[in-house]
């Protein structure tokens, strides 16, 4: 009987200490979870946290920028943002593979789409490559006749003036568009613009909720808290059951 009582006391103690330890984190997880649940209503997904709050561990530097000189302008990609000079013109999760200035349009190619913009950055059209080419292109070029050309696997295709139909062409007819280093003022403006709009409050809350805010070990800490909470449920149930007996 005394042994049983000692065992119950020990379980009680464990339950109490685990509860105290997890309590603080539970508050953290609960509050961030409630805020996340209402992030759309509170527009947390549209408001950006100050750059020094970023806390995502990602470091954005000039080497993160891919850029192409397109006529008198620059088309650049920094993470998922695409810029015409320093103006953000679209968001794409796929890689920028080239940009050129044709028929008074800025032709921007990402791995999944062809984007056409006017010189003020207004979108003219976005079209999926699968509707035009046999596979996703890997490189952009321009023919001697100033037509858009794309490399698909080992083959090259060029399009007509309206960019509606595509025909195979010999590789030597295409002049490949190469990436280049944009001027320093553009790099600096992009970095400033990106850092000021890099993390939404929703992302910040998500990082807080999942523990990523503390780096990769933060996730394991939250895992541990989750396991402790599960243990608390079991130990609480066991204590209750034993009391009834």
């Amino acid at each position: 009987m005394a042994k049983r009582s000692k065992k119950r006391h020990s379980l009680h103690q464990w339950h109490r200490y685990l509860g105290l330890f997890a309590g603080l984190f539970t508050l953290w997880i609960t509050l961030s979870g409630i805020a996340l649940n209402h992030s759309a209503e509170l527009a947390f997904d549209q408001q950006y946290a100050p750059s020094n709050w970023s806390l995502t561990g990602d470091s954005i530097t000039a080497s993160s920028i891919t850029a192409y000189k397109s006529g008198d302008q620059w088309v650049s990609q920094l993470n998922d943002r695409i810029y015409l000079d320093t103006q953000e013109i679209t968001v794409s999760n796929t890689l920028l593979i080239g940009a050129t200035n044709l028929q008074q349009m800025q032709v921007v190619a990402t791995t999944d789409s062809l984007w056409l913009f006017d010189h003020s950055g207004q979108l003219i059209e976005q079209i999926d490559w699968s509707l035009m080419l046999p596979a996703k292109p890997i490189r952009l070029g321009v023919t001697q006749e100033k037509r858009l050309a794309m490399q698909v696997a080992h083959n090259w295709y060029s399009t007509d003036e309206s960019m509606l139909t595509w025909q195979p062409i010999p590789q030597q007819n295409a002049h490949i568009v190469q990436p280049a280093q944009p001027p320093e003022f553009i790099i600096q403006k992009l970095l400033d613009a990106y850092n000021g709009k890099s993390t939404t409050y929703e992302q910040l809350l998500l990082n807080l909720h999942t523990g990523r805010i503390l780096g990769e070990y933060g996730v394991y800490l939250i895992d541990l808290i989750a396991l402790i909470l599960a243990t608390l449920a079991l130990s609480g149930f066991t204590v209750w059951l034993r009391r009834r007996q």
Binding site: L123, I124, E125, Q126, I127, D128, S130, L131, S162, L164
Partner: protein, 175 residues
């Protein structure tokens, strides 16, 4: 006990199901829709009056100055995107002589509302026409839990019918 366990398993499996995915590539949609007669690819440039009507239909401004489509005879095909709740749904529409011939969900990116991809929903659009007030001339039953996705498909169906009227294929004289 066994009953509760089974119920728990069912709930868990239902929660893990996601309707996200590419159901048909735009290319396959066009090919399937024009099997015997390959269509020509065309564009409509959008002037201010067109953009205004499109904005009325969509409830927001259309981001683009031209729209690509495929046409043959009196039929046109459209591959258009519209946001359901948060992410764009890619929808394929074929219009024949001012009536909807086919509506298909090509890519669904939202986590909820994927039921709109089922033919039991999309087949309701067949033969629907556009009324003068840019509404569909037949009722479309919604799906509970997929209200925003249903709304997005209706908007695109109306938009495709409106854009079809702007093409030379609307009178069936263009080959």
């Amino acid at each position: 006990m066994k009953r509760w366990f089974t119920l728990g398993l069912l709930l868990l499996s239902a929660a893990s199901l996601s309707a996200k995915g590419v159901y048909q590539t735009p290319e396959a949609f066009i090919q399937a829709g024009f099997q015997s007669e390959p269509p020509t690819q065309n564009v409509i440039w959008l002037n201010q009056p067109l953009k205004k009507t499109m904005a009325d239909i969509l409830g927001h401004t259309y981001s683009g100055l031209r729209v690509r489509y495929w046409g043959k005879g009196n039929r046109t095909a459209w591959v258009l995107n519209e946001i359901g709740k948060e992410k764009p749904i890619t929808i394929g529409v074929i219009v024949r002589a001012g009536q909807l011939e086919q509506v298909a969900i090509l890519t669904f990116r939202e986590s909820r509302g994927g039921e709109i991809r089922h033919p039991s929903f999309t087949d309701q659009f067949i033969n629907a026409k556009l009324k003068n007030d840019h509404a569909l001339d037949k009722p479309i039953d919604g799906i509970s839990g997929a209200t925003l996705s249903v709304r997005a498909v209706k908007k695109i169906a109306k938009l495709a019918l409106f854009l079809h009227q702007q093409t030379p294929f609307s009178d069936g004289k263009t080959q």
